[in-house]
């Protein structure tokens, strides 16, 4: 989780990723941040994140992002 928050802070600093649950709904992460984040996550965790996974439910909080990665790791 710490590494994930580090990645998020690197992409968009000054956000409380530990508590924020509306990263997409509140437009904190914009589409260009998402592109960056996906590239970084794929490199870090060795998973493939297809376009279909890019929905608010998967990106609204650090916890949800972590859950998505774990699910994708399990699938492959």
């Amino acid at each position: 989780m710490d590494r994930l928050i580090e990645i998020l802070e690197d992409i968009k600093p000054d956000v409380d990723y530990a508590t924020c649950e509306t990263l997409i709904d509140s437009h904190i992460l914009e589409s260009l941040d998402i592109i960056s984040l996906i590239a970084e996550l794929e490199e870090e965790y060795g998973v493939t994140i297809p376009a279909i996974e890019i929905v608010p439910e998967n990106f609204n909080s650090a916890q949800r992002i972590k859950k998505m990665i774990e699910r994708l790791e399990e699938e492959y």
């Binding site: 437009h27 914009e30 589409s31 260009l32 941040d33 996906i38 590239a39 994140i49 376009a51 279909i52």
Partner: protein, 544 residues
């Protein structure tokens, strides 16, 4: 036209406007009465029948396109479903190590089916909508090359709403492919999702998961839904009849003969056109939402007070939202999610940093989105220019943001202060008006001509009562429009603050509630633009 002939196929084109008397008094009430009278199990069939009758009355035999589209997406869905079932069965019998490879084979198969479906549906839309435009440009090219050949320009009839229901069809097939929704085994449910009569003219563009089940499980009409729905229809009617249609003669006069006017008047025309388009389209959307609400169906919103946006990027998140979402889900993210694009983003981030790095792949995807967005709106160069204009604006906005932030830090200015926010809202609105000037112009060359005149000859000389008369408006029109715009503005500010006006009205006693109703009805009857001297204006987005 007599009443009987109005109900022959294709004879009721006026019904495309939900505020026409034909729709409001002859079509909608019988639908509601029959819908309310039949048992719950039959309601969905009433909705489907009403939708098909509506389509038939407006488009006559062109309804065949709708039938073929429904049949096609139904069969493609089943085809994908069969492959998915086979895949699951095969995967369950395979060892874990070999599953990935096997899954890939099935995914490839599905991808081919999806590609075929998308090519077929988008191909049909391209042929019907753009073959004339394409032939015209080929002829111009041949003429430039001195080739004495002139191809005949095809004149194909387009069914109502094809640009909208084709996007819904593609979205359904893609969602089945991704496993987001199950392929529908009931063709009638799919047909209702594709053809629901309030949304077929101008959208909103819905995803299967948003409305298909709601429509199929249609509920009894409830008092709250009926009153809330009617209020929303009336509000939309006020926007369309009192503001949009009242502005129409003036906008038409300026854009039909722009040579007669100074740049200031052309600018005024562009501003009025922008207001007209917003009030027309969002007013029609209010009617769509209101009618759907009466049937107990909640549709995705298409507008969220776009003129409160502080950037073009934000504007497009608030204007024609369902179209923007469609492009984001089915073009932007799929393009940026290809392996090559992901590698490009990774490499660019290392060299250009976190902000500018993703702009490289993002920029390519944005170009695809805005090229398609422009083309979707119409088959002419000014529409393509309109799309690319917004692409440039959004990309420039993204590139300038870090520099602007640095500048504000240096001069110790708070970018979130009220005055700067107002400045950004006005600036965004001005950029939107310039875009709409090209959008409304008959051709791109004419658009540049008008823009040139607006900049080089910005004068309001001659703006007097005589000119206003020539433009088919008078001071009273402006007062009525300004007052109604003020009402819309106050409602928008309250909505922006999270206040639901209809909830507030519902809390009052019966006298106040009915007073509000009657006041709105009387306001529309007295100040609406209709009857002698007014040409009825078709819903502006129905032509796209």
């Amino acid at each position: 036209m007599d009443l009987a002939s109005m109900f022959l196929g294709g004879s009721a084109s006026a019904m495309t406007s939900f505020f026409s008397l034909t729709f409001l008094f002859l079509f909608l009430p019988p639908c509601l009465i029959v819908y309310a009278a039949v048992p719950k199990a039959a309601k969905k069939y009433i909705l489907l029948t009403a939708s098909l009758i509506f389509f038939w009355l407006v488009s006559s035999v062109l309804i065949i396109y709708l039938f073929l589209t429904v049949l096609s997406v139904f069969l493609f869905g089943k085809w994908l479903d069969r492959i998915q079932i086979k895949m699951k069965a095969a995967l369950s019998k395979t060892e874990k190590e070999k599953r990935k490879e096997l899954k890939q084979q099935f995914v490839q198969k599905q991808r081919k089916v999806l590609l075929l479906a998308v090519l077929l549906h988008i191909g049909l839309l391209l042929v019907l909508k753009y073959s004339g435009f394409f032939t015209q440009n080929v002829n111009s090219l041949l003429w430039l090359m001195n080739v004495p050949i002139e191809l005949e320009i095809p004149k194909l009839l387009m069914p109502l709403g094809i640009s909208f229901f084709t996007l819904q069809a593609v979205s359904y097939i893609t969602d089945v492919y991704h496993g987001l929704v199950k392929a529908d085994k009931n063709i009638l449910r799919l047909a209702l999702f594709m053809s629901f009569f309030p949304q077929i003219v101008e959208g909103p563009i819905c995803r299967y998961s948003q409305t298909a089940e709601q429509l199929w499980n249609a509920e009894q009409i409830r008092y709250k839904n009926l009153t809330y729905g009617l209020q929303r229809i009336l509000y939309g009617m006020m926007k369309k009849l009192v503001i949009a249609d009242r502005l129409n003669p003036m906008v038409k006069a300026i854009f039909d003969s722009p040579n007669n006017y100074h740049g200031g008047i052309i600018f005024l025309g562009a501003v009025c056109y922008t207001v007209q388009l917003y009030m027309d389209f969002s007013g029609s959307m209010d009617a769509v939402m209101g009618i759907a609400e009466i049937f107990g169906v909640k549709m995705p919103e298409n507008f969220q007070r776009p003129f409160f946006s502080i950037s073009i990027s934000e504007f497009w998140k608030r204007w024609h939202i369902t179209l923007g979402t469609w492009f984001k889900d089915y073009i932007f993210y799929p393009v940026t999610s290809t392996k090559k694009m992901k590698n490009l983003t990774s490499n660019a981030r290392k060299k250009l940093g976190n902000h500018y790095g993703p702009l490289v792949a993002g920029g390519i995807a944005l170009f695809c989105v805005w090229f398609c967005n422009g083309l979707w709106h119409g088959s002419d160069w000014n529409y393509i220019f309109f799309g690319l204009y917004h692409f440039v604006m959004i990309l420039t906005g993204n590139m300038v943001t870090p520099l602007a932030n640095k500048f504000f830090k240096k001069v110790r200015l708070d970018p979130n202060c009220f005055a700067y926010k107002v400045f950004r809202i006005v600036r965004t609105s001005l950029f939107v008006v310039i875009g709409e000037l090209f959008f409304r112009s008959p051709g791109m060359g004419r658009g540049f001509e008008l823009f040139g005149r607006m900049v080089s000859d910005f004068s309001f000389t001659g703006l007097n009562n005589v000119l206003l008369k020539k433009l088919s408006v008078d001071v009273q029109d402006f007062i009525i429009i300004a007052f109604t715009l003020a009402v819309v503005f106050i409602v928008s500010v309250l909505n922006e603050k999270g206040v639901c006006i209809r909830d507030q009205i519902a809390k009052r006693n019966i006298v106040i509630r009915w007073c509000v109703f009657y006041a709105l009805i009387m306001f529309i009857i007295i100040f609406g633009a209709y009857g002698f001297g007014y040409i009825p204006v078709d819903p502006m987005y129905a032509n796209f």
